[in-house]
Subunit: 313 residues, 2 copies
């Protein structure tokens, strides 16, 4: 709130708990409280709740109340750290999609070599998708990279297995043929998994099953490597001394590698801005998700998607 003095936020959840949290804010943050409004929600959607159940009982939950508020135009963006499947389903019901997009996708920015970033989508909203849906994802990701990141002609690629031997699934080959025909798109063809981090594409498109597995494996690997870097500098006597001296460098490094830095996945294709924060995000991580929402608001992302993709999808 201090970083964005103009920002005001509506909080949806158990009123008592939210009030107690606000009253416990450290003194230097207390002023921020005046920009926060609490909306009491009688229930919430659990992480393990069945989708059908969440849709049926949605109305009185904090997530559905937040989305109804957003749909009514009283807020410009919604951020949630809740159940991803329920957030996507309830968002679609409350907001609908733009440009005739049949299936919104989950999309996040991945850090790449050379300080770049790459948008990866879909991350789990759609499994077993048809080739035409992969094309939609490519078009949406391209609009995102162009408008939010200001890249003139984002390089769009399809994730595939090695060109050696197996040439990928039928779905991917069909999507490749469709994308290759699109003159206006800077489509660069297939990349393999290592291409995501190599910085060779600005947008990498895949089925939600693959994207989810890749993203979560990457988070797991990053966590393991950070632990090993720390353990290496704490293990031996000599490196313990070095470790103490190296602490500032290690702290900087951890900040760079920490997945939290890129926290905030966009539910792309909705007629509204909804950002999913990592469920385990703490305050700093959550603030990145809010920042992501603010960026998409300032670029009018849904309007751009509608203008550019309306009639094409």
């Amino acid at each position: 709130m201090q970083a964005w003095p103009g920002l005001s936020a509506d909080l949806f959840g158990p009123g008592d708990q939210l009030s107690a949290e606000l009253n416990n804010l450290p003194r230097h943050l207390a002023a921020a409280g005046s920009h926060l409004r609490i909306h009491h929600a009688p229930s919430f959607i659990r992480q393990d709740q069945r989708l059908s159940d969440a849709l049926r009982r949605g109305g009185e939950t904090s997530m559905a109340m937040m989305l109804a508020y957003l749909a009514s135009g009283q807020a410009v963006a919604g951020v949630s750290a809740g159940n991803t499947g329920a957030l996507m389903a309830l968002s679609r019901r409350a907001l609908g999609t733009v440009a005739g997009i049949p299936r919104p996708a989950i999309c996040t920015a991945i850090p790449t070599r050379g300080d770049g970033r790459c948008y990866l989508l879909d991350l789990g909203a759609n499994v077993d998708v048809a080739p035409a849906r992969l094309v939609d994802f490519a078009l949406m990701g391209e609009v995102m990279a162009r408008h939010v990141d200001g890249i003139a002609a984002p390089r769009v690629a399809l994730l595939n297995v090695g060109s050696e031997g197996t040439k990928g699934s039928e779905t991917v080959r069909e999507a490749d043929a469709l994308l290759a025909e699109m003159g206006a798109l800077n489509y660069i063809g297939f990349v393999e998994g290592n291409g995501i981090f190599a910085g060779s594409a600005d947008v990498v498109v895949c089925d939600g099953f693959v994207g989810n597995a890749v993203l979560k494996a990457s988070e797991g690997l990053a966590r393991m490597l950070i632990e090993r870097v720390q353990a290496t500098f704490e293990s031996h006597w000599s490196s313990r001394v070095v470790g103490m001296l190296a602490r500032p460098a290690l702290r900087r490094l951890k900040g760079e590698l920490d997945p939290v830095r890129y926290n905030g996945a966009s539910l792309l294709g909705l007629d509204g801005i909804v950002i999913k924060s990592h469920g385990s995000a703490e305050a700093t991580g959550f603030s990145y998700a809010v920042l992501r929402a603010a960026q998409e608001v300032s670029r009018g992302l849904p309007t751009q998607l509608d203008l550019e993709l309306g009639g094409r999808i």
Copy 2:
């Protein structure tokens, strides 16, 4: 060769080039040359060669000659850094499979938290597989972990997307039902991508498309993070000094993180031992692939697969 005095190796490739390389060995390695036999092959399979072409013209290539030699019983294992698709296809033709396994899989060991390892398969030999094939992969991976790593009851898991909301593809759900019915197997259910590195399973099974994407993305991420660790210690004056002091710790760390350390993927399910080395592996990396082959030879892996899985698949 010095590490395994009993080892003798047959090299298949362009005779002139191989002879020249052996003549250029440093003096302290020259003795090893006596354990190496050169077999001249008039041609070889290119990385970008079409599979149909490789199969048709295979006979006179170094890869096919090596596999024929292996199939004739003159060698106990084959190691190649060549075209993966061709290696799998030619190996199947030359060696066949054991235990009625219809589709061999590519399998490698992934380092996990707590110094463990996890076998991930399939890594790209089979895309769009039926649920029954995922079950085969689970059974083969389990035999591998039990016999080669000596784990009494390896924990076997299926890779899936988050249990929140979407519950994965139909294929994965069917495979889950089949595996859950197998009493003898220590099947622990679904893991998400982060579970691979968390050390929560000894064997993780997935479609070849997913496994390939996860493995290659992980290699790309590891490379990026190693670069950043080094750059962090070289960037500022103060950390340059620390970097010099930290050099031994960094070297140790790089050794631990380097993907080469686990170089060597098994073509699992063949009636013979064939190991695929990374195409970009240098001498040390290639020696790990040879070590992998030697381990599988000493455990008689194909025989174990045949004994345990014969009649079950």
